[in-house]
């Protein structure tokens, strides 16, 4: 039976490529003739835009007529009542090396300053733990900064620690940083190769009929690859909020379900800038599967019993051989993720409290700590933990220098010349889970802009005291997530 079947089926022999090339060119000639004879049109696109009643930038209605010109605007996706508009704007070239390095350093300075400020407010509120994604917040603020002028722009730059760079250099630098991170982790089949997944998405949700300046939208697209979504906060606040939350959930794989707390947005909201990050990576060398309860010593209060994960014994072949630094002031351990491009840096101060240590941290001290680590065979024990955080960041950012953006004096005229705009909500929601196998984390940052109402080693290392947990990109030093763990049980 099998021989009959094979006989009836001709055997496939691949055609030589040269022959296929000749056939291709013959067929191409026919295609060219047909194209020269016929027309082509963007009618369907025009009709779609008219049907949903979107307001295009002043040059948009023209641009879709010529279907292949840069700047063509099409509706590319829909989430509930929100429509995504897309153009084929070219992405910005990567920044010069010095600018990229300067922005990387600034991001670290911003990350540490932010951590310090949040640690202070967290201590005041009594919880002690902090979890934030500085890179997500920095991206959202950098997108806002593109639309700010004068003192408002200077305030945002001061908060971001980028005052030494021009607005264009900053935009290029952030673009390059994001591109470097994406290039290192967004490889095809990352799941199969057990490489880290790092997905970053940006979006601008825009009130219909807001006379937004095309240059602002183009700059967001070019520098941040920001998706533009058209919504109607004024007439359908619930639908717009639902669409924003759905976008957030889909870009954080369901870990962050809402971008703003109830009531944070209202009918005066005219745009929302959003950044979402999802990270999942396995340890390069996994901890043992078994966890063991043992005491952890918070800065204040009695010891708590929490689950600890432990590396294989230092005598075994699978023992951890990782960068370590043991000094009189701190214990530092670097845990690489599979793929060796990203790592977690665990810092446990030994001579001072964690908030005191965080207050003394600077980018140069951090670089010194990392530079002083050497690979050693160690047995490491540290808690498994899951953190979740929800921050309203207006107070924190005001104290970092950008108060002007939050008041009637804000100058966001590079977004839209009128009506007067100001920032009325900045929130970040984050999630971090550290297990014996690896790390899963997500964060989403939202910036809400509204119309002004008035014109206005050999030794076992046990991380059993409060510690810092930083997820870093090894090449750039960029801090993706940072967590202060005062009490893993809380």
């Amino acid at each position: 039976m099998s021989s009959t079947s094979r006989a009836s089926k001709p055997r496939y022999t691949p055609t030589p490529p040269e022959e296929l090339l000749a056939r291709t060119k013959q067929r191409s000639a026919a295609h060219r003739q047909r194209r020269l004879a016929g027309g082509g049109g963007g009618f369907a696109v025009v009709a779609a835009l008219v049907l949903i009643g979107v307001l295009l930038p002043s040059n948009g209605a023209r641009s879709q007529q010529a279907s292949d010109k840069p700047g063509k605007v099409v509706v590319s996706a829909r989430i509930g009542v929100a429509y995504e508009l897309t153009t084929n704007e070219p992405t910005a070239p990567n920044a010069a090396h010095q600018v990229a390095v300067a922005v990387d350093n600034d991001e670290v300075g911003f990350s540490l300053d932010l951590l310090n400020k949040l640690a202070t407010s967290s201590k005041a509120s009594g919880s002690g733990n902090v979890l934030v994604s500085p890179s997500s917040l920095a991206t959202a603020l950098a997108m806002l900064e593109l639309g700010a002028k004068g003192a408002t722009q200077a305030g945002i730059a001061a908060a971001l620690h980028t005052s030494g760079l021009s607005a264009a250099q900053q935009a290029e630098g952030w673009h390059t940083l994001a591109a470097l991170l994406a290039a290192e982790t967004s490889t095809s089949g990352a799941h199969l190769k057990h490489e880290p997944e790092l997905d970053i998405a940006n979006a601008l949700f825009l009130q219909e009929h807001l006379p937004v300046l095309p240059a602002y939208v183009q700059a967001l697209s070019k520098d941040f690859q920001t998706g533009l979504w058209q919504v109607d906060f004024e007439k359908d606040l619930v639908g717009a909020t639902r669409a924003i939350n759905l976008w957030t959930s889909e870009n954080t794989k369901g870990l962050i379900k809402q971008l703003f707390s109830p009531g944070a947005l209202d009918a005066t909201t005219v745009l929302v800038l959003a950044d979402a990050v999802y990270f999942h990576a396995k340890w390069s060398s996994p901890f043992g599967n078994m966890t063991l309860e043992r005491p952890f010593y918070p800065t204040e209060g009695a010891p708590v019993r929490v689950a600890f994960m432990s590396s294989p014994s230092a005598e075994t072949r699978s023992a951890f051989h990782i960068p370590v630094a043991l000094t009189s002031r701190y214990v530092a351990v670097e845990l690489p993720y599979a793929g060796d491009k990203l790592s977690a840096l665990v810092l446990m101060p030994t001579g001072t409290t964690l908030p005191g240590f965080v207050a003394s941290l600077t980018p140069s001290l951090l670089a010194q700590i990392v530079g002083g680590m050497f690979p050693q065979s160690v047995q490491l024990s540290m808690p498994t933990f899951t953190e979740q955080s929800d921050y309203d960041l207006i107070q924190t950012l005001s104290s970092m220098g950008m108060a002007q953006a939050f008041g009637p004096g804000a100058d966001l005229t590079a977004i839209a010349p009128r009506p007067p705009l100001y920032v009325h909500a900045v929130e970040q929601h984050a999630y971090l889970q550290v297990t014996p196998k690896g790390t899963t984390a997500a964060a989403a940052t939202g910036v809400g802009v509204a119309m002004s109402a008035t014109e206005a080693t050999e030794h076992p290392i046990v991380i059993d005291h409060p510690f810092l947990f930083l997820v870093r990109d090894d090449a750039t030093g960029a801090i993706l997530f940072e967590s202060m763990v005062e009490n893993p049980a809380s």
Binding site: Y12, L21, K69, N88, T187, V217, S221
Partner: protein, 187 residues
Amino acid sequence: MANLGGGPAGGSLGGTAAPTERSSEGEDFDEFFLRILPRTIRAARRLTGDPWIAEDVAVEALARAHARWGRVGPLEWRDAWVLKVASREALHQVRRRPPLPPPENDRDESDDVVLRVALVAALVGLPRRQRETIVLRYLCDLPEVDVARALGVSPGTVKTHIHRALAALRASIGSDFEEGYAHEFHV
């Protein structure tokens, strides 16, 4: 506005074909053809299951690229452009002809054909954008960023389409999807 770019410099757009023009990376059409041909045939064969049709589909897609080489050549994502055209053409071919009866001699091969036919049928039932996203991402093995550029959407939208499409494929193919294709879709 959204997205995404990497578009070609505006001045190079829109002209009639100039088949001997070199791409932005100095690659002329013949070099590009020889490089992308095996991948294009492979992608088309995964969709049609027929090597002869796959060759014809690849020729058609590359002929369209050749006819527009002045515009396609400078694209950073010209590979994705050709694979997108080829996958559309392959699905078009699948829809035009009756499904081949599975071979009776080889149980494993038969199972593969049945699964492929089920997958293609389920793919055809997806909305166009979801279908193209799935084909380019998983059957052509393009990274998300290239899929986004080829389709002119943001990477976030690609993720959205993938999420919804995989859910629809699971619902449509059921347990066979998990057994036969889950590894291919990294789920």
